[in-house]
């Protein structure tokens, strides 16, 4: 079973973009070799990343102001939903830490096992090597998410996900800032859909290390989730 023979026209990559001008064009170009449909949601970047994404062949939706990554994802979902031929949405990071080959495996898995959602997980194999602190934060986060949402995942805060159309149509992310990953898992948990996990390799480049979720951020996430 492989998507290599089958069409990828019904797959839409949703890429939230915020100030990633240096990498976004390469990310879009690389992704479009396999998945021609890429929608980049520029979240009010102050650089020219949106233009770079557009010239690399992505459909670009521009937030007039910065709203947050969660809001950008939901905008991407709304955009993809308006395309009648869309069957799958893939959430994909703009900074080049996700692998297109992982997406292919996730779609294969979803199709083969008739899953509506496939989450990427860094902890199903040992390709990804987060720092010890990061590991601890991620473990705590996934523990909290599993307890509060009734799901069983090994890595709930992974930006790489495959969502089937019927799931995308029911998602409504209202957590604009950091808590959107947990909110997404919670909404999927409530939908009682068939979901699975697939191992992914996250490249922690020096560039992506300077951002990402710190321990302080997990405190913010917790507060945002408690006062939903």
């Amino acid at each position: 079973m492989s998507t290599r023979g089958t069409s990828t026209d019904d797959v839409w990559l949703v890429v939230p973009l915020f100030n990633e001008e240096s990498v976004i064009a390469d990310v879009v170009r690389d992704a479009r070799r396999t998945f021609p449909n890429v929608v980049v949601v520029d979240d009010g970047s102050s650089d020219r990343g949106a233009d770079a994404a557009a010239s690399a062949g992505a459909f670009v939706v521009r937030h007039p102001v910065n709203l947050g990554q969660g809001a950008a994802l939901q905008t991407g979902f709304d955009y993809a939903r308006s395309v009648p031929s869309m069957q799958w949405v893939v959430t994909f990071d703009a900074d080049g830490q996700h692998q297109v080959s992982d997406v292919r495996d996730m779609l294969d898995k979803a199709r083969a096992e008739d899953l509506q959602v496939v989450f990427g997980s860094r902890f199903l194999d040992d390709r990804t090597t987060p720092s010890r602190m990061k590991k601890l934060v991620l473990r705590l986060a996934v523990g909290y998410t599993n307890i509060t949402t009734g799901t069983k995942l090994t890595d709930a805060h992974n930006g790489l996900r495959v969502l089937r159309r019927d799931v995308v149509e029911r998602l409504d992310i209202t957590q604009n800032r950091m808590a959107h990953a947990s909110e997404l898992v919670a909404q999927i948990g409530e939908m009682k859909v068939r979901y699975g996990e697939s191992p992914v390799h996250i490249l922690y480049t020096d560039y992506s290390k300077t951002k990402g979720q710190s321990l302080w951020n997990s405190v913010n996430i917790l507060v945002e989730l408690m006062f939903r």
């Binding site: 449909n37 007039p64 809001a71 905008t75 709304d78 395309v83």
Partner: protein, 121 residues
């Protein structure tokens, strides 16, 4: 000891009520209650200027040592409810703002060929 328990129960109840009400109620009634509360608060402030003793008497009634302590407790409750209201108001504002910005973004975005508009957006 009993008196101290009384004020503690009272304060905890008030905090819970304020938070619960703020989380649940919206609209005209909640706004009216807030305004009445504000008027009562202002009236009481005026009374307590004329009769500073009123806080001490009230404090003794509920079992707090001094009137100043009671004022402090009241201030804590008032500040807490202000914080919660403000947080909720900002959150609602942000939700609307997000919808507006998203609508603008989507209406200006280039469309792939043969795409319909999404009424649910």
């Amino acid at each position: 000891m009993n008196a101290l328990v009384l004020i503690q129960v009272l304060l905890i109840l008030v905090v819970i009520l304020v938070v619960a009400r703020l989380f649940r109620s919206r609209g005209a009634r909640a706004q009216a209650i807030r305004r009445i509360g504000l008027v009562v608060f202002a009236a009481f402030a005026a009374v307590s200027i004329l009769f500073p003793d009123v806080w001490s008497r009230l404090a003794r009634l509920v079992g707090v040592g001094r009137g100043t302590d009671l004022v402090l407790y009241a201030l804590v409750v008032a500040f807490l409810s202000f914080t919660v209201t403000t947080y909720l108001r900002f959150r609602d504002l942000e939700t609307n703002y997000t919808r507006l910005a998203r609508r603008i973004a989507l209406s200006e975005a280039p469309r792939p060929a043969a795409a319909d508009d999404d009424p649910a957006a």
